[in-house]
């Protein structure tokens, strides 16, 4: 079962929310409700599920209701109707005491503008969640220090927030949320207030951290690049409604409607293409135990200047050049082992970004070998593959 199940969530701001829900059920549009009853439907019949250990990104422009939704999840904003089921328990049916307990132990929030207490030190800020739970001073200092270490803020315990840069402040915000060891992290535009370079760093670090922690993260953003980078799944929102939920590739390759498509157009897709997407099957390879005569024949057959050589289990061993092969034939060597150049092959892994492949592919005449984590040959990339992928990119953008 999913960690968090949200069903038919509504939030109406205005004098008589129940009436608005009734009107919606009768089929009146948001616009008419605003006009006739003066009420705003901020979240309109939203349902989604979040799996344990998943990074679930809710994205949309301002006014799309994403910030309202995340605040409904811990009831900072009281939803008008619907259910929010965490581990089989409906948050909306909880009394105040249960809710406080859930907030303390099950979910922590990270805020756009950090929301640090200026009168407290970094350590004391990090302790806050534990402090309100009544954890003993020594123990909570210990836990807070660990959390700070996790986000790379060791040694800043006694600084005050206004002595830190934006990125560091948000690390404190993250550490404060992690110190509670919550099951769910709610991150509300957590990186939006940071400048672009710091922002990328923080995204990378979150991805790294998440690999270790395996928390369930719900991340709000208005930036599709960010959503694609960190999200396992993305939910696109517009005017309080869900437009599309899917994996990043699904959203890119299969936009649900024009709105999503317009969003997707702005994305630099070369950021997303990896070796796996552009590699091709090698025409031919030789093994290190085959003889030079066979290799020479293969070269001639395909008109190649060099060949990839694999060892046992198709692990890439290196390459041989046609000149070396000819020499070996003349000297009558029994196998290719003497002439393998192990260092001259560029190896990349399956998920290497295309931007990192351009250089090795263009500077060498030998194909780039794409290998899995055990070093086995999965495919090759030659200049033309990279160029074609990049060209396609360009023409998509212009279309």
């Amino acid at each position: 079962m999913s960690k968090l199940v949200i069903n038919n969530l509504f939030k109406v701001f205005g004098a008589n929310p129940k009436l608005a829900i009734k009107l919606i059920r009768e089929g009146k549009s948001k616009g008419r409700i605003l006009k006739e009853a003066g009420m705003t439907v901020a979240v309109n019949d939203v349902s989604f599920e979040v799996e344990e250990g998943e990074t679930f990104v809710i994205m949309g422009l301002s006014g799309s209701g994403k910030s309202t939704i995340i605040r409904c999840l811990n009831r900072l904003i009281e939803p008008t109707a619907g259910s929010i089921v965490l581990d089989g328990e409906d948050l909306l049916k909880m009394n105040r005491k249960q809710l406080v307990e859930t907030r303390r132990t099950a979910m922590s929030m990270v805020f756009q503008n950090f929301a640090l207490l200026p009168n407290r030190t970094v350590l004391s800020n990090t302790e806050y969640g534990l402090e309100v739970q009544g954890v003993k001073s020594l123990e909570r200092k210990e836990l807070a220090k660990e959390a700070l270490k996790l986000v790379g803020l060791e040694g800043y315990e006694d600084s005050y927030p206004d002595q830190l840069s934006g990125g560091m402040k948000q690390r404190v915000g993250l550490a404060r949320a992690l110190a509670n060891d919550p099951e769910i992290l709610l991150m509300d535009e957590a990186f939006s207030a940071l400048d672009p370079l710091i922002r990328r760093d923080m995204q990378d670090e979150l991805v790294d951290l998440q690999e270790k922690m395996k928390k369930t993260i719900i991340f709000i953003t208005h930036d599709l690049d960010e959503a694609l980078k960190i999200g396992d799944r993305i939910m696109l929102m517009k005017d309080g409604e869900v437009i599309q939920i899917g994996k990043p590739e699904e959203i890119l390759s299969n936009p649900a409607d024009e709105y999503v498509e317009r969003f997707v157009q702005g994305v630099n897709r070369s950021d997303l293409l990896t070796a796996k997407d552009i590699m091709v099957k090698p025409w031919t390879t030789v093994t290190e135990n085959q003889g030079p005569r066979f290799a020479l024949a293969e070269c001639r057959k395909y008109g190649l200047e060099s060949l990839l050589v694999t060892g046992s289990g198709r692990v890439v061993a290196g390459m041989v050049t046609i000149d070396d092969i000819k020499k070996a034939v003349a000297e009558g060597q029994p196998s290719l082992q003497q002439i393998i150049r192990a260092e001259d092959v560029n190896r990349v892994s399956l998920d290497t970004n295309i931007n990192d492949i351009i250089e090795p592919a263009l500077e060498s005449s030998v194909p780039v070998a794409v290998t899995d984590s055990d070093g086995r040959l999965k495919g090759v990339i030659i200049k033309s593959n990279v160029l074609r992928a990049l060209m396609q990119e360009r023409s998509d953008d212009n279309a």
């Binding site: 605040r71 811990n74 900072l76 406080v100 307990e101 859930t102 907030r103 303390r104 979910m107 922590s108 929030m109 805020f111 756009q112 503008n113 929301a115 207490l117 200026p118 009168n119 806050y128 969640g129 402090e131 309100v132 739970q133 005050y160 404060r176 509670n180 709610l186």
Partner: protein, 274 residues
């Protein structure tokens, strides 16, 4: 246009309270009197130079060298004018009035920030308390408490409390929403929210309120000498009414010195403290 007898009505209310609520006012009188006596006894227990040094030390810690030197010289100056005992009784009135005004004003300010309705009700009352000429409620408070320091302190409390309420309310309202949300999201209970987030963040503004409260109390204490408050105010009053210009001036100067010391002591906090 018929004459609205609001003055008569007020008289009636005052008379009614004076007679029927006598016990209550006697209780309040005893209470305030005890505090004044206690503080005055405490302050005059030590010779003036001990207090001078203590105040200078506090000033040094909170507001720096300059103010510390000023406090020391100022107190010596008051003593040299032979006004120290008057200054002590004025100080005890101010301290009593301020303490009571803050004890009521800060909690009321906190509640007013929380409950919009209370804030709406309070606003005109605070306006009334601040702008009604002080003489107008000196007389009823004499009727309730008889002549002496108690009605003076009572009037002073009414006059000095509004800024404490207003600025506490403002300070708490100014705490950024995101910080309130952060407190909520980590599961703070209402008192944790108040003492760990709202009050610490509102502190600079509340301190400004306390400062205002003290300053208003000081200005009122001089006026209140008309109903027997004693202290420096009565020096000024006697001086003015018997045309002894020098005496009035000396009393006035002592008030100024005390005002500056108290102001700097309470302002120091918001300025250089972090």
């Amino acid at each position: 246009m018929p004459r609205i007898m609001i003055g008569k009505l007020f008289e009636g209310v005052v008379d009614y309270l004076r007679v029927s609520w006598k016990v209550v006012f006697l209780g309040i009188r005893d209470f305030i009197e005890t505090i004044i006596d206690f503080i005055e006894y405490g302050l005059s227990y030590f010779p003036f130079w001990v207090l001078a040094i203590v105040i200078a030390l506090i000033a040094y810690k909170r507001a720096g060298k300059g103010i510390a030197a000023f406090s020391l010289i100022g107190i010596l100056f008051i003593e040299s004018m032979d006004l120290w005992s008057e200054a002590v009784s004025t100080l005890s009135l101010i301290i009593t009035a301020t303490i009571i005004a803050l004890l009521i004003g800060i909690p009321v300010g906190i509640l007013s920030a929380k409950f919009e309705l209370l804030n709406k009700i309070l606003r005109p009352i605070l306006d009334l308390m601040q702008t009604m000429p002080a003489f107008v409620y000196l007389i009823p408070s004499v009727l309730f408490f008889r002549i002496g320091p108690v009605p003076a302190v009572f009037s002073t409390i009414i006059f000095a409390m509004p800024p404490a309420i207003r600025l506490t309310d403002l300070g708490i309202r100014q705490v950024p929403t995101e910080l309130i949300e952060a407190g909520e999201s980590f599961g703070s209970l209402w008192y944790q929210m108040l003492f760990k987030i709202q009050l610490p963040l509102a502190m600079p503004t509340i301190m400004a309120g306390i400062n205002q409260c003290i300053m208003l109390a000081l200005s009122m204490v001089v006026i209140a000498s008309m109903i027997g408050a004693g202290g420096l105010g009565s020096m000024v009053l006697t001086g003015v009414s018997s045309l002894k210009v020098g005496m009035a001036f000396e009393g006035g100067l002592a008030v100024v010195v005390i005002a500056i010391i108290l102001d700097r002591l309470t302002q120091g906090k918001s300025g250089n403290n972090k």
